[in-house]
C-alpha cells in the first residue's frame, strides 16, 4: 500500500504541477506581490480576459474566480461557509434569492460611489449590502417561422396562451428547479395577482402547457427553432439578439420574437456583495466599484447576455439593433417575494404537477 500510496501522491503532485502551469500567466514582475481577491460566482458567469487583466494591473491584484454551481447552490455555499468564508465577494444573487442572502447576513454594507450613477429601480437593498450589477428580462419567446408559415398571429400577451389556437404550443420551466422558470412564475403572479395566478396556471394546464425542469431542455429540446415541437418558450429578452450573434451562417433578423406586453416579463436583477469576514476589504470594494463601472458593464452583454444597470455603459451593436426591452415588467414587491417565495413554489407544484 505505502509504495502505491507514495506513487499516487507523486502522481497527484505532478498533476497539480502540470495544471498549475496552464493557469493564466501572472502579470510580469509586479513591484510587490499581488494581493489575491477571490470572487465567488454562479456557473453562468463569464468576463473577458482583458477586462480582468486591466483591473489586476491597476490594483496589483490577482483575481481568483470560484464557480460554485447554479445561483442557488452558490448562495447556499456562501451561507454555510460563513464562519470561514470561501471568498471575498459573491456575485450572482438575483432578486428572487436576495431575501435569503440578506436574512442570513452574509454581506457587509458598501456605499459604492458608483451607486449614484445607477437608477433607483435597481437598488433593492436600501442598506447597500447587495449592489445591483445587471438585469435581464425573462419573457416568452416565439419561433417567428412557425407562426409565419401557418398565418397564425404570434401571442402578444400572457392571456393568449390559454386560448384554443395556442393549445399545446407552450413550454415553460419548473420554478422549483429553474431560475427562468421561477421568474416566469413571478411574472404571472405580478400580472394576475397573488389570488388569481393559480387560475391562470390551471387554465394553462388545461391548454396543454408543457413543463420541463430546465432551460436547456425547454430551449434545445422542445422549442421548434431547435428541432422541438413547441413554438413558444420561456427564455430571455436577450435570446433573439443572441440567436443573431450565434447564427451560422450570419442572419440579419432574429428568428425569434419576444412577448413584451405590459406585465408579461419579469426582470431579474443580479447583485454583488462583499462577504462578511473578508481580509482584503479595500480590494473587494475596488472590485465592486469596477463591476459597476462602464468598462465591466459594457463587457457583460456579450459574455452573459444580461444588461448593464449603469446607463453610462453602451450596448454592443447586436443588442442595440435587435433587443426589445419591455416598457413595463411585471411588478412583485421584493418584500412579497421574500415572504412568499417558498409558499408560491409549493402552491405552483400543487396546481401544476399533481
Amino acid at each position: 500500500m505505502s509504495r502505491i500510496g507514495i506513487r499516487c501522491l507523486a502522481l497527484i503532485a505532478v498533476l497539480i504541477g502540470a495544471c498549475g502551469q496552464s493557469s493564466p500567466a501572472e502579470p510580469t514582475a509586479p513591484p510587490a506581490e499581488p494581493t489575491t481577491l477571490t470572487v465567488m460566482t454562479h456557473d453562468s458567469f463569464e468576463v473577458s480576459q482583458e477586462v480582468v487583466a486591466a483591473f489586476e494591473q491597476a490594483h496589483n491584484a490577482r483575481i481568483r474566480f470560484f464557480k460554485a454551481g447554479d445561483a442557488g447552490t452558490a448562495l447556499n455555499q456562501a451561507i454555510l461557509s460563513r464562519e470561514s468564508p470561501l471568498a471575498d465577494v459573491l456575485y450572482g444573487v438575483d432578486n428572487t434569492f436576495l431575501s435569503r442572502a440578506l436574512e442570513e447576513g452574509i454581506f457587509e454594507a458598501y456605499n459604492s460611489p458608483l451607486l449614484s450613477q445607477i437608477p433607483d429601480e435597481f437598488k433593492l437593498d436600501p442598506g447597500n449590502r447587495a449592489l445591483p450589477v445587471d438585469y435581464g428580462d425573462v419573457c416568452l419567446n416565439y419561433d417567428r417561422g412557425y407562426f409565419d408559415q401557418r398565418d397564425l398571429a404570434p401571442p402578444t400577451r400572457l392571456e393568449d396562451l390559454t386560448q384554443p389556437e395556442y393549445a399545446d404550443l407552450t413550454v415553460v420551466q419548473n420554478p422549483a428547479t429553474s431560475s427562468p422558470g421561477l421568474a416566469f412564475l413571478l411574472a404571472t403572479i405580478g400580472h394576475f395577482g397573488v389570488d388569481s395566478y393559480r387560475d391562470y396556471w390551471a387554465d394553462l394546464q388545461q391548454n396543454g402547457v408543457l413543463v420541463v425542469s430546465d432551460w436547456e431542455t425547454a430551449y434545445y429540446g422542445e422549442f421548434t427553432l431547435h428541432g422541438g415541437e413547441r413554438p413558444i418558450v420561456v427564455s430571455y429578452g436577450s435570446s433573439p439578439p443572441a440567436e443573431v450573434y450565434f447564427a451560422d451562417p450570419p442572419i440579419d433578423e432574429p428568428p425569434t420574437g419576444v412577448v413584451t406586453a405590459e406585465g408579461s416579463c419579469f426582470r431579474q436583477i443580479e447583485f454583488v456583495g462583499i462577504l462578511q469576514g473578508t481580509q482584503v476589504r479595500d480590494l473587494a470594494r475596488a472590485w465592486v466599484d469596477f463591476m459597476l463601472s462602464p468598462t465591466f458593464q459594457e463587457d457583460m452583454p456579450l459574455n452573459m447576455f444580461v444588461f448593464p444597470v449603469n446607463p453610462n455603459a453602451a450596448l454592443p451593436d447586436v443588442f442595440a439593433a435587435h433587443l426589445v426591452i419591455p416598457d413595463q415588467t411585471a411588478q412583485v414587491a421584493p418584500d412579497s417575494i421574500a415572504a412568499n417565495r417558498e409558499a408560491w413554489i409549493e402552491q405552483w407544484r400543487n396546481v401544476t404537477l399533481r
Binding site: 495544471c19 425542469s213 422542445e222 435570446s239 407544484r349
Partner: protein
Amino acid sequence: MAKRDAALAARGGKRNAQGVRLSTALLWIAPLLFLALFYFYPLGTILQTSFARGEAGVGGALLRVFADPSARGALWFTFWQAALSTALTLVIGLPGAYLLARYRFPGKRLLRALTGIPFVLPTLVAAAAFNALLGPSGWVNVALMRLFGLGAPPVAFTQSLAAILVAHVFYNTTIVLRLVGDFWSRLDPRHGAAAQVLGASAFHRFRTVTLPLLAPAVTAAALLVFIFDFTSFGVILVLGGPRFATLEVEIYIQTISLFNLPLAAALSVLQLAATLALTVIYTRLMARLSRPLSLQTREIAQQPLRGRRNKLLAAAILTLLLALLVAPLAALASRSFVRLSPRDAPRQTAPTGFTLDFYRQLGRDPQEGVFFVPPTVAIRNSLAFAGATVVLGLALGLPASWALARDSRSLLSRLLDPLLMLPLGTSAVTLGLGFILALDQPPLNLRASPLLLPLAHTLVAFPFIVRSLTPALRSIQPRLREAATVLGASPTRVLRTVDLPLIGRALLVAASFAFMISLGEFGATSLLARPEYPTVPVAIFRFLSRPGAVNFGQAMALSTILMALTGGGMLAIERFRLAEIGEF
C-alpha cells in the same frame, strides 16, 4: 524469509488465523482513514448543521418527512422506478454479458468500449442524444414521417416514465456487462458440459449450474445498478420532467430552491438508511452465495461463434445492445456534423448538411472569456483528473477488497463491507455542501483545491472498485495460496504469482470504472466549487447554457469529443498489461 513463512504456514492453525486477522486490520487503515476524512466527517458536519437549523431536531424532521405526502410519494416512486430500471437493465445486460463472456468475435473490444460510453455522458448530453434519435426531429421520427407521409412526428419519447427507464438502461447496462461479463468469462465451461452429459437441458443447465455460480457477480451488479437508479437525479429531471421526483430530486429542491435544510437532511438520512439496508441484505446474501471456484483463462472459456443458432442469438443480442446503447450515441455525433435547419425556417436559405464548422470554432472564443478553454486543455484536465482517480481509487480499493476477500467473516469485515457502499447512496447535494462546510481548516482546507475533484470521484468509484475486485479475490482457491506458501513462496511472491494474475482482469475492470466515473463527473462534483481547470463536461455545459445554433452545435461537437475520448480510453485500458499480469 521464504523458509520462515513456510514454517509459519506449516504450523498453521490458530496463530495463522490471528496473523491473518491482524494483517487484515492493517489493510483497512488507509481506506478507512480516507472514508473517515472525506466522507463521514463532511457528511456528519452537514447533517448536524442542517438539523440544528430546524426547531424540531432530528426526530421532528424525520417525522415531517413521513407526514409530508410529497416526500412519501418521492420515497415510493424512488423505490419502484429503481427496481423496475434495475430489472430492465439486467434483462438487457445479462444476455449481453453472456455474449461477451462466451464468444470470440471480431469487433468485440470495440463493442465493449462503445457500451461504456453512455456511462460518462452528462445528463443534458444524454438527453440531447435521445432527442437526436427519438425527438420530433430525430432519426426515428423523420424516417417514420417520410416513410408513411405523416404530418406530425409519431413517437413522443422525452418527458415520460419510459424515457427514465430507457435512460437508466442506457447508462447502467455497462455495469452488468463489465461486472458479470468478466466473471462469466472465467467460469469453467466444463461444469455446464458435465451437466449436459448428464442430460440436463440448456435452461436447466443455466438455472442449476451457471446461475448459482454467477450469482455473486449478478447480485453485485444489480446492487450497484439499483443504487445508481435509486439516487438518480439528472435523468429524472431532464428526461422525466417535473412530474417525477426521486428522493435525490426532492433533496435538491428542498436544499436549493426552498432552503429547508432540516427537511433536506431528513430526506438524505432516509436515502442513506435505504442504501445501508440494501447493502446489509446484499452482504448477507453474498456470504451465502460466494464459493471458491477454479477460474479459467478466457482462452478456455471462450469459443468462436459457430453454428446457425448461436449466430442468430448473437445477432439478436447485438442488435438490442446497438439499438439501446450505441444508436443514441451515433445520433448525437451526427448532430455535431450537421447544420439543422428549423422546419419552419423564416425566409432564410440556411444551407443544411455536412459541416465541420462546429469543430473549427471550438478553439476560439470571440469574447476571449476568462473561462473559455480550448478543447485540448479541457481534455487534458479531464484526463488528469481521471488518471488521479484511477490511481487513488486502486490504491485505496485494493487493500479494502483484499481485506474483505481474505477475512469476510470477521466482525471488522462484516461491519465495514456495507459502509463502503454508502457514498454511492449519499445525496450529492448534501455531500457537496458537507465538503464546503467541513474541509475548511488547514491542513484539510481543500475547498478550493483541485485535489477535491479526484477525491470526490474516488469516493464514488470506491464501491465499484471494491465490487469488481472482491468477487475475483474471493474466488481464488485458498489451496493455491497455501500450495505456493508450502512450496516456499514469500507472501509478496504469492501475491505476485498467484493473486495478481488471477485478478488482473478484475483490476482492469476496476480501473475502467474509476476512469469512467471521473470522466463523467458523478455525484457531488457537479455541486462543488471549481476554481480553475475546466473539464470537458464543464466546457460542454458552458455552450449548452447559451442560446444560439452555434452554441448548440459546439456543445454537440465537444460531446462527440468526450465520447471519442472515453471510447479511446477504454480501449487503451483494455489493452493495458501490467508487467506481471498476463492475459487472464
